[in-house]
């Protein structure tokens, strides 16, 4: 990452930034600076070119910095001219509060990513809303595209805490009922529940005409199972305890994780739902790229 801004794509760096708005800004700027130097240059979502101001254009679109340099009026010409309403769906289950390495928890990773996406969408003048759920929807903000709305979203995100049990399928069904217009629903969850009901709920959401991106976030330890020796594992949600020989169980576990991910990937692909497997050690750009690809399809 040659550009200094790109360092903020790393979770271990961004965790040192306490303010969520700054986190969002740094992640997006790092991501965009990476994109400018990348083959995905055409994805520039800020603007693609300037054109001369013509009467009837919105005065707020005039680029005053260009006017200051050239003494002529130019307006920004955005590549994505259509608006897409986005919803950030945050899973508040206790398992989302887990971290093994004592860096970003899954939830912190999720809200950082959500904040960045929110920031990005607002920058594109796309309305973005927020829904947080555990066993049911706990918090919600309607989608708006104003910059002041981003502050609200970030404020709510910073306030959210992963609590106890969760019911993802019920919550998704509830969300499905809540959203009236075709929207882009971005689900941030670890999916640590029975897969079938979740998949059904997502399918329903999809059938309601929404575009869905599932950001499947696991802790790095959940993805790699780095333990050794005899370990006593406890599920923080259920309190269930299992004693295993870590080395012996690792292969089995990774097999289970892969099967778990493959199942979601396969089923969601059939439903034309984007599935982005993540873990808390991964840079944020992968998640953002997933969003942009989806956004491009809609544009």
């Amino acid at each position: 990452m040659a550009n200094p801004a790109e360092k903020f794509l790393k979770p271990e760096v961004i965790r040192n930034v306490s303010r969520l708005d700054l986190r969002a800004k740094f992640i997006v700027e790092g991501f965009l600076s990476g994109l400018h130097a990348s083959p995905f240059h055409g994805f520039s979502v800020e603007f693609s070119e300037h054109r001369k101001y013509t009467p009837g254009d919105n005065i707020s679109d005039i680029d005053w910095s260009v006017f200051a340099k050239t003494d002529r009026f130019y307006v920004k010409r955005f590549q994505a001219e259509t608006n897409l309403t986005g919803y950030l769906l945050m899973d508040l289950s206790a398992s989302m509060g887990y971290t093994y390495r004592q860096e970003l928890t899954k939830f912190e990773y999720a809200i950082s990513l959500a904040a960045a996406l929110g920031y990005l969408m607002v920058q594109q003048q796309d309305p973005v809303g927020l829904i947080a759920f555990d066993e049911k929807v706990r918090e919600s903000l309607p989608p708006k595209s104003r910059r002041t709305h981003l502050a609200n979203i970030l404020s709510v995100l910073a306030r959210l805490q992963p609590t106890g049990l969760t019911d993802i399928p019920a919550s998704i069904r509830q969300v499905s009922r809540m959203i009236r217009h075709r929207s882009l629903v971005m689900l941030f969850t670890d999916l640590l529940a029975d897969a079938e009901p979740i998949l059904k709920a997502i399918h329903r959401l999809r059938h309601s005409g929404h575009e869905v991106i599932v950001f499947h976030i696991l802790d790095e330890a959940e993805a790699d199972f780095p333990f050794q020796g005899i370990v006593e594992l406890e599920d923080p949600e259920t309190g269930e305890i299992l004693t295993v020989d870590a080395l012996g169980a690792r292969a089995d576990y990774l097999e289970s994780v892969n099967a778990f991910r493959d199942q979601y990937k396969r089923d969601l692909f059939r439903a034309r739902v984007d599935y982005v497997p993540l873990h808390t050690g991964m840079p944020f750009d992968k998640a953002l790229m997933g969003y942009l690809l989806s956004r491009q399809r809609k544009g």
Binding site: A94, S95, G97, Y98, T99, Y100, R101, Q102, D190, L192, L218, D219, A221, E222, P226, F227, Q228, G229, I230, V231, E232, L233, E234, D235, P236, E237, T238, E240, L242, T243, V244, D245, L247, G248, A249, D252, Y253, E255, S256, V257, F260
Partner: protein, 744 residues
């Protein structure tokens, strides 16, 4: 196979195998507690993982128990095959030392040390290293008897005094005696050491040797006895030796040379040796003999014409001139008594029946008595008719040595009486029946006092299908010299007719058969009062040109075996074998004594400085037994009678021919004699110590246990590392999150 340990108490250490179990139960290591939300993914494979975990935990526990057990076993130093108490060197021991003193132990190595010296040094070493409370049984292989126990210091002196003994015995007897000796001891450990070259003759391979079984085995505790065989045979023996000396003539005759036949045995590479003939203290001849590698060569050396000498006795030696590592067999001794030529009377009715006999016995007779070049004349033949025999027997000063009555029709009764008297005075008689022999003449009362059988029917083989001789008694002097050759040759001799016989009484012996199983040659054996010998042929010692001739009973005279058999027969009848006075060391010698000379006593003196032994002679005794002479060389015997009669005679003692055989007994043969794994074989001090250590201490498991301990320890370490490997992420700084932290 027995199993022993240094101390039984050390095995109590095995109880410590419980320690890992206790530690495992009491101080069970608490596994690291980790929150893990994705537990549901792991639960799917929980069963297999738990089973694997248990297996590994059991493996770890078992390996730790094995480590403790192996350490305890290592300290106990288990060993198998031990037969004595703990293998300690200071255990009082009953030791039987069997020293092979046979002549083959004379073999001297490059350091000028013979095998017996080596054996004695090793025996002394064994004795010195045993505690003074031990009992030593020293057994000379020449005297295989149970010996009284002696202290080690006494035994050392006795060992030093041991010498080579030409008259020796197979070691089987000595080892049997050794077993009995050590079993009679109350010492806790019993060992037999056999110091020998294990040359082929040293053991009777047909006779197994083992520890004697107690009379009441169920009441007697089995006492182990360890047998050590120390093989001292030369690694690459080189030796030339003389053996099987014999005279190549039927009699040593005054004025005639005598051929001496012997075998030169060469062990080692091909070589040339000089043989010397010494007679009466003077060298008479010498010749070079080329010997192939590891082979025997038959040599004939000829004496000059023998002079009458004093009492006819001559003593001499064949010597190998150059020294070699085993001197005892470089000299072969011989003694002989020369006599006037043997007088043989051939009595026939027709000249033709005497022809072949006379030619076979005295070929020069046909040349008018002139000496033939290279042919000695041990026999002087007279051919007589029956009518002339009575007159001839009356000549007391010209008594014949043997009479052959061949195919004579009738012998008058008075002549039988004369023949009877002659036989009793030492004249040999041979009767051969033929076509002319009349039954009544040979079956009469006087005849039957001499003859071994009655003459019965004539038997005639079908024309063109002759019978043959068969089954000669090859141990008899007549057939012994060329036993194998005669056994083959006689079966080819055609026999057309013979006289069936019925054995008449005791003392008869069949020496040759017809191929149909009937007797061809019989011998009548008399008691000691009758000096003469009787032979009885059922077919004549003559032939006719045509087999259809009624007098043609066999073709025996056409065979070379006829000459050999007739010569040996006449020598036997004339008792000339007493002239060849030689015997192997350790075998009894029967010295001929003429009863009519009235000898009362004999002074028997061996070679060297040993004083002579005086022996009384019974009046009727015609043989004086000299029991097991044990000194090699010439022995002298002075016979004296009451009337001042005296005669000097003697005999020679040679080493047993087998003593020159240095080829060692192979392991398989030893297994046959002693039983597999029933003895320990050693070649030198080092291997003896190893064998003794192996037998006393057994096969130590210590090195293998240590190796196993190392392996198990490594395995345990590997398992432990796998299970309890520190997590660098945890030990690196960040503490384990508490439930509260995770929940928060």
């Amino acid at each position: 196979m027995n199993l022993s340990v240094v101390h039984l108490g050390l095995l109590a250490g095995l109880a410590f195998v419980a320690v890992p179990v206790i530690i495992h139960m009491v101080m069970r290591q608490k596994p690291k507690h980790i929150f893990f939300p994705a537990l549901r993914l792991l639960k799917q494979k929980q069963r297999q993982s738990t089973r694997r975990l248990r297996i590994r935990q059991w493996a770890l526990l078992a390996s730790r128990m094995a480590v403790v057990a192996l350490m305890a076993l290592c300290m106990a130093r288990p060993a198998c095959n031990t037969t004595a108490q703990l293998g300690e060197s200071n255990v009082p021991t009953a030791i039987a030392l069997v020293i092979d003193t046979s002549l083959s132990m004379q073999w001297t190595d490059a350091r000028n040390r013979d095998r017996l010296t080596e054996a004695k040094d090793l025996a002394r070493k064994v004795v010195r290293e045993t505690p003074i409370t031990s009992q030593i049984f020293l057994i000379d292989s020449a005297e295989p008897i149970e010996t009284p126990a002696m202290s080690p210091s006494t035994a050392e002196g006795r060992i030093k005094a041991l010498e080579l003994r030409p008259a020796n015995r197979p070691l089987n007897d000595a080892i049997d005696a050794a077993y009995k000796s050590v079993l009679s001891s109350d010492r806790p450990r019993r060992e037999i050491y056999v110091m020998t070259d294990l040359a082929e003759r040293s053991l009777d391979l047909q006779r197994p040797v083992s520890k004697p079984t107690p009379a009441e085995p169920e009441k007697t505790k089995d006492v182990p006895v360890q047998l050590y065989l120390l093989r001292l045979n030369p690694p690459e023996p080189v030796n030339a030796g003389l053996k099987n000396l014999e005279f190549d003539a039927s009699a040593a005759v005054v004025g005639e040379p005598l051929d001496i036949k012997l075998v030169v045995s060469n062990t080692g590479p091909a070589t040339t040796r000089i043989l010397e003939l010494w007679l009466d203290g003077r060298k008479r001849d010498q010749r070079a003999v080329e010997l192939s590698a590891d082979s025997d060569a038959e040599i004939i050396m000829r004496t000059p014409p023998l002079e009458p000498g004093r009492d006819g006795l001559h003593q001499g030696e064949i010597r190998i001139r150059d020294e070699d590592p085993m001197p005892f067999d470089n000299t072969a001794y011989f003694s002989l008594v020369v006599r006037p030529p043997v007088k043989v009377l051939i009595v026939t009715d027709v000249e033709q029946d005497a022809l072949f006999l006379a030619e076979a016995l005295d070929p020069a007779r046909g040349a008018g008595g002139a000496a033939l070049p290279g042919v000695s004349r041990p026999f002087r033949v007279e051919i007589l008719r029956v009518g002339q025999l009575a007159e001839r027997l009356r000549k007391a000063d010209d008594r014949p040595n043997a009479i052959i009555v061949n195919n004579v029709a009738q012998i008058p009764e008075p002549l039988w009486t004369q023949l009877n008297l002659a036989v009793r005075s030492g004249v040999g008689l041979c009767v051969a029946l033929g076509d002319r022999s009349r039954d009544d003449s040979y079956n009469g009362a006087t005849a039957m006092t001499l003859l071994p059988a009655t003459a019965d029917n004539r038997f005639e083989a079908p024309a063109g299908q002759p019978l043959h001789f068969s089954a000669p008694d090859v141990n008899h002097p007549i057939f012994a010299q060329y036993a194998e050759e005669l056994r083959t040759e006689l079966t080819t001799v055609p026999v057309f007719r013979y006289r069936q016989t019925t054995r008449s009484g005791q003392g008869t012996r069949e020496l040759l058969q017809i191929s149909d199983g009937r007797s061809a040659l019989l011998e009548r054996v008399f008691d000691a009062n009758v000096a003469g010998r009787i032979l009885y042929w059922t077919t004549p010692l003559a032939r006719r040109p045509s087999s259809s001739d009624a007098a043609a009973w066999n073709d025996f005279p056409r065979s070379w075996s006829f000459v050999q058999v007739v010569n040996r027969m006449c020598a036997y009848l004339a008792d000339t074998d007493s002239q060849t006075a030689m015997v192997e060391a350790g075998q009894d010698y029967l010295l001929p004594v003429e009863p009519d000379k009235g000898f009362k006593s004999a002074l028997v003196k061996g070679p060297g400085d040993r004083p002579g032994e005086k022996r009384d002679i019974a009046p009727s005794e015609n043989r004086l037994p000299i029991l097991k002479p044990d000194l090699l060389g010439h022995w002298g015997v002075a016979l004296t009678g009451a009337a001042g009669t005296a005669r000097s005679t003697g005999f020679s003692v040679n080493p047993p021919a087998t003593e020159s055989q240095l080829r060692p007994i192979v392991k398989e043969s030893l297994d046959t004699v002693f039983g597999k794994d029933k003895y320990s074989l050693a070649q030198d001090t080092e291997s003896l110590e190893k064998a003794v250590g192996l037998a006393r201490v057994g096969v130590e498991f210590f090195p293998w246990l240590m190796l196993l301990l190392l392996v198990v320890l490594s395995f345990e370490n590997y398992l432990a590392n796998r299970f309890y490997k520190d997590d660098p992420n945890l030990t690196g700084g960040s503490p384990q999150p508490s439930r509260r932290e995770v929940a928060a």
